[in-house]
Symmetry: C2
Subunit: 429 residues, 2 copies
């Protein structure tokens, strides 16, 4: 890992910048896929399954039998682990499902908000080397708590036309049985517009490669909501002399193994800590099965020495990391200074993988600096908050005149008249 | 207003469809404006002020003197009205600023969320015929409650290079003094990237014409968050025989006067109500100053007879109106059936203009069917919710094994190792 000693503050903006990816070529490919799916529906999906997933599918829908069979294949040990994660994620997300009491803003004027689940939502789960069944928990559990009526799941099949059993088992466990064998940008298009088989949804969630991400951005322009913009996964660790260097190295590597484009940053006020973590890093890296991926990510990463922990926090706020670990036993003061971060892991025993799987927090988080302006996925992401208001005669008498004056000043006379007529009827004018 | 009697359910999807606008030409114009602003900063803004606002500006920043002078120009009557609105909007939005208690999902595992204001936000207020100072209240008050540190405001100048005093007065009242004389797509570009004079922001709020809306969509693709996608304003009224037809007509017109493209829909189970409202509509329309605009909007609008109120609610949910008025004295049952709507006005005395100005609810709401998947602006819109977690030794002992098993099943061994090392250190393995 490259070590940077006490960089000038004027260099910070460069240091917090993420690498840019060329988007033009992807845009052209994704546009074509989306318009094919829009125009030809299932036919296009089957064609792309053959092209990209190398499989001739007889049907896109995962059958009841396939779902049932998954249960018998998944080990009891994994099932118990998933149950623990599910229970914690449910506990944490249920607490987000609050209702707000009406506020009487003026006598006779009562206003409130009500959370209503978005009726139709689509979850995308990538296939490929890692079957991300944990992401199903992270998306489906808040969707259920929010009260979404129709939840569908798209995920690419393997070359045998099958879906990983852990994915099917987890989906069933959280109550999702509308599962489709569709991956990539074509899955996003299918959920955005619907096909003969796949129902249209109002909001699309889930991680994916650059094609999936681009497709989500493009359908967003046509009125389909998406969870958030996305980029490569990131971790920033602030470690002081009370950290455990071997834990820090393990955490940095757990981020690095996600992909060669993963972003890993280590900040410290101690030269010794940086040296120790880097030594541990080399040691642990050698033992990883995904060594090539992790090595590439680590080569692009930085460990930076700053003069004090306050500067580390300031740098971190400028970077706005997806994951932020405070590797220290003195975290109380640090917490209050965090302004931009997706999810924060406090102390030496809060590893990122806890939040990735089982502590209860959501792992769908803003990357690429989006922690400055976006939140991670929560129950909020699956609801609309509708405002309600009820004015009685007293209410309109109390605020009617203010409305008339303001409407008049904005030149909106029909707005004013809607009040005047009511005040007249009550006999107030 | 066109009356449609008992349309077939199969025709509903057509009836709820909004007119489409051609976007291609706008896209080209807006792209050019944005890239000019990105490359040439203030120079481009001054050029566009001359071109679009017909004014040669000596500076873009509104001076302290201009802001102070506004106070002396605005009438005491209007000031008091704005004060009443401000107080109600503050009361309603303050209640949204809740903090969430930590949840102990498992013994030793504590998780919570903290709302942190987005540091830099930009508010856009249109100029033109109506000086929308009310929108400043609707955007700046929640921004302040959210704790946004830097709030800037852009609004176009008139031909004399001035900003409407009511806008300046209201801005100052809610604590905004960074005000710039920039309108249109160029204002959006300036806030997205910053110029010599105008600071860059992370999220842009506010209504605008098709150019502003398009510019917001386009900068969103480059990582700047926006409040929500936008379209023409809308009102749907469900009226039964307990409504007051003259109130209903006034409400429909208050929507219609916004613009010729405003969408107005009246639903009822009573032929008599439809006839009476339409008669009132003709009568009131004739007296409006903005008669031409309102007339055009009403000509595009529909009054629809349905067999019962339940069908009206179902239709409304399919339409997903920005504003929904329940013009009835029997609203209790109706409320629970509302699934898609921006803001709901209950009973005969809750006119839309109450919510537009002074009841306390926000008037920045999802249009164009976006009430299916978006909420209106609230304090939520101005914060990120950061998750925190703290595991102690007991916590990692309790969930560590579940994490290891799940990480292993997803093929992510460094994730597993981050836990294993900690369990070993505790002496648990």
């Amino acid at each position: 890992m490259k070590i940077i000693n006490n960089p000038n503050r004027t260099d910070w903006p460069t240091l917090v910048t993420r690498p840019e990816f060329k988007k033009e070529e992807i845009t052209i490919v994704v546009s074509e896929i989306l318009s094919e799916v829009k125009n030809n529906g299932d036919e296009a999906l089957l064609k792309y399954a053959e092209k990209f997933d190398q499989v001739k599918l007889s049907q896109l829908t995962v059958s009841k039998e396939e779902i049932e069979n998954a249960t018998s294949v998944v080990s009891e040990e994994l099932k118990s682990a998933i149950e623990i994660a599910k229970s914690n994620i449910e506990k944490f997300h249920s607490a987000q499902n609050t209702s707000e009491a009406p506020v009487e803003t003026t006598k006779g004027v009562s206003c409130w908000r009500k959370s209503v689940g978005i009726e139709k939502v689509g979850l995308y789960i990538p296939g490929g080397s890692a079957p991300l069944f944990s992401t199903i928990l992270m998306l489906a559990i808040p969707a259920k708590i929010a009260g979404c009526k129709e939840i569908i799941l798209c995920t690419p099949p393997n070359k045998e036309g099958q879906i990983n059993p852990a994915i099917l088992y987890t989906a069933k466990l959280v109550g999702i049985t509308n599962i489709f064998k569709v991956g990539g940008a074509q899955a996003v298009g299918a959920m955005a517009w619907g096909t003969e088989t796949i129902p249209q949804v109002y909001k699309i969630f889930g991680p994916g490669n650059q094609f999936v991400t681009k497709a989500k951005e493009m359908v967003q322009q046509e009125g389909v909501a998406i969870d958030m913009p996305a980029g490569p996964s990131e971790l920033l660790v602030i470690a002081d002399d009370s950290c455990n260097p071997s834990f820090v190295a393990a955490d940095l590597l757990s981020q690095a193994e996600h992909g060669a484009d993963s972003q890993v940053i280590l900040l410290s006020d101690s030269e010794k800590v940086l040296a120790e973590v880097n030594a541990e890093l080399d040691f642990q890296l050698a033992q990883l099965p995904r060594i090539e991926i992790a090595k590439a990510a680590i080569e692009n990463s930085k460990s930076i020495l700053l003069s004090n922990i306050n500067d580390c926090l300031e740098f971190s706020n400028q970077y706005a990391p997806e994951h932020l670990i405070l590797a220290s036993v003195k975290t109380d003061e640090m917490i209050n200074k965090i302004v931009n971060a997706g999810s924060v892991f406090i102390g030496n025993y809060s590893c990122e993988s806890a939040g990735d799987y089982a502590s209860g927090t959501n792992h769908t988080l803003p990357t690429n600096g989006f922690a400055r302006n976006y939140s991670g996925v929560s129950v909020d992401s699956f609801v609309k908050k509708i405002t309600f208001q009820k004015l009685n005669e007293t209410g309109i008498q109390n605020i009617g005149s203010a409305i008339e004056i303001m409407a008049d000043a904005e030149g909106l006379f029909a707005h004013k008249n809607a009040v005047t007529l009511r005040l007249k009827e009550i006999g107030d004018v």
